[in-house]
């Protein structure tokens, strides 16, 4: 009786994992490099007023922003809007979402007249929930 001596060698299947680390680090670096924060791209000079009663705003949805820079220019959604026409920008948003909270990022040295016009515009567009953005302190 002869025994076949051909050795059967079993192959274990393998997935090369040596480069997964490289892939992952590449992802980290890619997102680190490409992330751009929005406020900086607008390049507005806004110093928020200081207030001791500043609260953190917990909601993250239903928020829209109005920016007013040191020259009294009003920005909504990255575009310059005349202050008398704020409601034309905000009204459609309120129609879409009645729970909308408008955050007013207004430079602290602005004359109140400008703020008054914006508040009036907001009332007109029925955006009643507002927040004056402020910094802690004062």
């Amino acid at each position: 009786m002869r025994k076949s001596i051909i050795r059967r060698f079993t192959r274990t299947p393998e997935i090369p994992t040596a480069s997964t680390a490289d892939v992952a680090f590449l992802l980290i670096l890619f997102f680190m490099v490409t992330t751009v924060f929005r406020a900086t791209s607008l390049n507005l000079k806004i110093v928020l007023p200081k207030a001791k009663s500043t609260e953190r705003i917990l909601i993250r949805r239903n928020i829209t922003h109005i920016w007013v820079d040191n020259n009294g220019r009003v920005f909504i959604d990255d575009s310059l809007v005349p202050k008398e026409r704020v409601s034309s920008k905000i009204s459609p948003k309120v129609a879409e979402n009645p729970e909308l909270v408008t955050i007013l990022n207004i430079h602290s040295d602005i004359e109140y007249g400008t703020v008054d016009v914006i508040l009036d515009q907001l009332k007109e567009s029925r955006a009643f929930k507002i927040t004056f953005a402020t910094e802690f302190g004062g």
């Binding site: 992952a24 705003i57 009643f128 507002i130 402020t134």
Partner: protein, 154 residues
């Protein structure tokens, strides 16, 4: 003759788990990243109506801010007292006093001059928001009725 074979150790750093570590870092930072939270003072604007809401004069603390940031405060017992920009905390004291007296009926009306600085208005609003008293029956009272009078209104 000795024929002992010298064993050769090959130095190696195990890299199999590097990928796991890297992904762990990605996921850790993804979940812990909090984008700058908004901070501010909340307000609720009134509806634009023609009908006037009548408030009894004794329930009102009325504050006027002039272009220099100085205040004129009127309330029962305070007949148009002047408050300089350095004394804004006086507003809080008076509002607290009135809160105890008038309870939830108190209305604080804030009228700011067109030429006043926004910071002055926020400074006064801050003081009104800071006012907080505890009544004798243990309720916490805050000045919730704050009305920002439009500058066009006389």
């Amino acid at each position: 003759m000795e024929l002992r074979q010298k064993k050769k150790y090959q130095a190696a750093i195990p890299t199999a788990s590097m990928g796991d570590i890297a992904f762990l870092i990605i996921i850790f930072f993804m979940t812990t990243t909090v984008f700058t939270r908004e901070k501010g003072i909340k307000m609720l604007l009134p509806e634009k109506t023609e009908t006037e809401t009548k408030v009894k004069p004794e329930n009102v603390v009325s504050i006027l801010i002039n272009p220099e940031g100085a205040l004129k405060l009127r309330a029962t017992g305070y007949d148009g007292i002047d408050i300089s920009p350095q004394q804004y905390s006086e507003v809080r004291r008076i509002v607290e006093e009135k809160l105890l007296e008038r309870d939830t009926l108190l209305v604080v009306s804030l009228k700011t001059s067109k030429d006043a600085q926004y910071q002055a208005m926020i400074g006064v609003l801050d003081q009104i928001k800071l006012a907080k008293v505890v009544t004798q029956d243990g309720r916490e009272l805050k000045a919730n009725k704050i009305s920002l009078i439009p500058t066009s209104e006389e």
